[in-house]
Symmetry: C2
């Protein structure tokens, strides 16, 4: 089965002081992800997301890219009773639309881009309080920090890594091979 | 859920003239797999297994290791009416026992070794005629070449890549996190 998603925005986290991303006209996907992004690297240090490995150990980086969907972000906003959730606040690198249940895409499946690039889904990005704080700050409602975590379960998109390099830009159609 | 598999043998394909493997006392798993093995490499060239990419393009190597199970090999032997299927003939790198349905393990799950190494399942290794020829040659029965492909469906184990390096040897227990 093949699903088609549309790329609405591409973003980079290139300010060392924050995980918050900013929009670009296009990105080049390299082995390791987006150069200059805080999650760039073929390898990464194990952290709280990989409790089975000692903290700081070098492992393959399966979390190079954060992908979110317009529909899931709106779902989180609705559950929190706010107008919108900006992808920047979640540190998203790619915003897509048109695919139901992005966060539930199975691990290992391929996403193919018009440039010939390929990206592999590494499963749901489990929500933490980091983005919640951004949302809470923006709306001036402290409780949103923790409410975000529950409201974003299975709605915070996926993480992915680059299998084959290539360009990615808004308007691209992503072919998701299930 | 955690499954436990026992490592029965470790093997390497270090003869450039063949994919057939030979047994070792132990192997060191590096980023990229087993050094000296024909499938070693963090990167690989796209081939017939990745028809979505142009042949020969550099991609991440998701097929560093071939893992088979004693039980599945015996099932193939039974269906072919032969005494045994040697893991060497399939180019297997790791032989395990004690896990039902190895070939059906989902992509993306982790397998942890006592040394601290971690390996990621990349799904079923779909059977082709290469191993069938080895089996046909050994038993002197030509038809086994093609009969192998059907008999080995969902029984030819999985491919995997190294997420964290470390040693692997017979007798090790592999913790499979589903």
């Amino acid at each position: 089965m093949t699903l088609i998603a549309r790329v609405e925005a591409v973003l980079i986290a290139d300010d060392p002081s924050t995980f918050v991303t900013r929009e670009l006209d296009k990105v080049d996907l390299h082995f390791g992800g987006i150069e200059g992004d805080r999650h760039f690297g073929i390898f990464a240090k194990a952290d709280v997301r990989q409790p089975m490995y000692p903290r700081g150990t070098e492992i393959m980086n399966r979390r190079q890219l954060s992908i979110v969907s317009v529909e899931e972000l709106q779902g989180i906003a609705d559950r929190l009773g706010v107008e919108e959730i900006r992808p920047e606040w979640l540190g998203a690198n790619i915003v897509v639309s048109g695919i139901p249940g992005l966060a539930k895409l199975p691990m290992g499946i391929r996403m193919l881009l018009p440039s010939g690039a390929g990206v592999v889904c590494e499963g749901e990005n489990e929500p933490c309080t980091g983005p919640g704080k951004q949302i809470a700050n923006h709306y001036g409602i402290k409780e949103l920090t923790h409410r975000f975590v529950k409201a974003a379960l299975q709605s915070r998109g996926i993480v992915a890594y680059v299998e084959r390099p290539g360009e990615l830009k808004p308007g691209d159609e992503i072919e998701i091979q299930i």
